[in-house]
């Protein structure tokens, strides 16, 4: 765990200067917020792993078994990636960054914590994971409804997708990985296309038609895919996740997740 913690800390340290590149006060503010949240999370991870080592005598990542320790470490990792109810930093931080750094934040930064999450998936509290997942999907949907700034919109979309990923973790971690991969692909597409069009608000997207019709079509398809409409690829993880949930006799959870996908779809559609 010590090495994991060190890796996460170095990751945070490395990205701080990247984020602070723009000498805009909002960028600095975003950097500070990010640093604080990530440092808190890292400290919690250290604390939880130490607690586990003290009570169980084990530093191995897979073997974290003390219930308090697993809960703490799950919450800390959730804070790192931005799951509800620890999501409040994500929209503002993402808004303060330019699009490329935002891309890195949304995709690459999720990989490390997810690697840890996948490894501890057997021992975690199922109720906690389900709560985190459902809450994230709902918050991601509701929160994005009133947004006009594209980066905040993508932040809420990220929260919702992470919710989907977490909820299936307890049943089939392979699906979490699949969802993560597809999400990274789609979000990268979105960020890169937005960067090409240098637009940061919904209004500026509306003017995109005359400039690059091909790109606009691509953006539209990619947005619909993020929303999870068949027959686009974005539907596949949602479908498989719902199937697993149904197999595990959790139809209510499945329905709640599905309905919250509708919320996200609404703001994609605008």
């Amino acid at each position: 765990w010590i090495l994991a913690w060190m890796g996460l800390e170095i990751n945070t340290m490395a990205i701080i200067p990247l984020m602070a590149q723009q000498h805009h006060p909002r960028a600095t503010e975003a950097t500070t917020k990010y640093f604080l949240t990530q440092a808190t999370a890292a400290a919690m991870i250290l604390f939880a792993s130490t607690m586990n080592a003290w009570t169980m005598g084990d530093w191995n990542i897979n073997q974290i078994s003390h219930p308090l320790a697993t809960t703490t470490v799950t919450l800390a990792l959730a804070l790192k990636i931005g799951l509800a109810p620890m999501h409040f930093w994500l929209p503002e931080v993402l808004q303060g960054l330019n699009l490329t750094t935002g891309l890195v934040l949304s995709t690459w930064q999720k990989l490390a914590p997810f690697a840890l999450i996948l490894q501890i998936s057997q021992n975690t509290n199922p109720a906690l994971l389900t709560t985190l997942g459902v809450m994230s999907a709902l918050v991601g949907g509701w929160g994005g409804l009133n947004q006009t700034q594209l980066r905040k919109l993508l932040a809420y979309s990220s929260i919702a997708h992470l919710g989907w990923m977490i909820i299936i973790l307890q049943f089939m971690p392979a699906l979490t990985l699949l969802n993560l991969t597809i999400y990274i692909t789609m979000t990268s597409t979105m960020f890169l296309s937005l960067k090409i069009m240098t637009s940061t608000k919904i209004n500026s997207l509306a003017l995109a038609w005359p400039k690059t019709p091909t790109l606009t079509t691509l953006i539209m398809l990619s947005l619909l895919s993020l929303g999870g409409l068949p027959p686009l690829t974005g539907f596949m993880p949602k479908w498989l996740i719902l199937q697993e949930l149904a197999k595990q006799d959790l139809p209510i959870t499945a329905t709640i997740m599905a309905m919250s996908a509708l919320l996200s779809l609404f703001f994609y559609l605008r």
Binding site: L232, F235, P251, L262
Partner: protein, 460 residues
Amino acid sequence: MLKILIPTLMLIPTTWLTPKSWVWTTTTAQSLAIALLSLTWLKWTSETGWSTSGPYMATDPLSTPLLVLTCWLLPLMILASQNHISPEPINRQRSYITLLILLQTFLIMAFGATEIIMFYIMFEATLIPTLIIITRWGNQTERLNAGTYFLFYTLAGSLPLLVALLMTQKDMGTLSMLIIQHTKPTNLLSWGDKIWWVGCLLAFLVKMPLYGVHLWLPKAHVEAPIAGSMVLAAVLLKLGGYGMMRITIMLDPLTKELAYPFIILALWGIIMTGSICLRQTDLKSLIAYSSVSHMGLVAGGILIQTPWGFTGAIILMIAHGLVSSALFCLANTNYERTHSRTLLLTRGLQMILPLMATWWFIANLANLALPPLPNLMGELAIITSLFSWSPWTIVSTGLGTLITAGYSLYMFLMTQRGPTPLHTISLHPSHTREHLLMAMHLIPVLLLVLKPELMWGVCH
């Protein structure tokens, strides 16, 4: 099945590679050829009822009429769109046709699907091209709102369907229609099972649409361009009916009691929407509400689950598809000339466009279910089976028939008879294309009088 799917997909390169002046001609011709090919599906030879099967697709007497209707409509849609799209740049025209073709492909795959999950995916997939057609090529600013209504009503209904289907797959091990028709009825007693039943059916009821959840339909129809309206009225609504018919095989023991509220909504809806039609000023809205009314009859016929009910439902679906699409084309001819849908502005057309008046006459007669047209066959079968289910339904179905006759005649008289207002005298005469369009809609309706077995093969 592939014989039809691959030429349809090949239409997409056709639209993009043909030179500008030949695009419309070639696409119409090719889609017409595909439609004629699809008529070969009408020969059912197998005993189990399913023929022309591939690994995931097959046709049976229930899906074949709808498939032929879909294939037949594509050339008609392309014909109808030719005029209002011509001012646009050629690439936009090509993308419009491509969207229609994509929609067609998804529809063929939906009607031909044997796995219910494939049907579900195609069902959802048809939403995307329709949404793009409505929002991008619609005529007024409300079209964005209409598109949103359309998408969200349908999706809100169909996501529970997805969960319900997945649960079914877990319990039964398969979702293939071929197998499900032979499984023994499941014991469904608890509240959870009742919610599962509603989940299965809700998506199709919203799509049909049932009276309580029908608000998306008038909006979508009024805002959509002509091809969008045609395909919506003719085929997409039938997707809902078809899905219901397939799904009720699984749902049996519960349906007797649980269907009551929906049957009541359907019957009440017939009367209510019919009455709304009598007071409409917007022509397209009138036809849209008439669609809801007819579909209410279809829903009632399906939900009581008798052979005659199903037969009536499928006949009415086909006949209504053709006639409704014809009426939308007629409304569009008016719209293209006056750019207004208000009934008051397009009165007295019989004096200036007499041949079109013939088509108006026939289409309206078909709408009000004149014998011996298939509309009447369908309505009569449904009304009879509803009567045998409960004698009280005759009140609403009879009233409904009366009101349907009322507004159909109203539509005819308002647009054709009466003094011709002076501002309409300078309207363009009817194009041959429009006459061809109307003929191709209404001649199948007349021909089906002679051989209705093509439509009701499923129960006889």
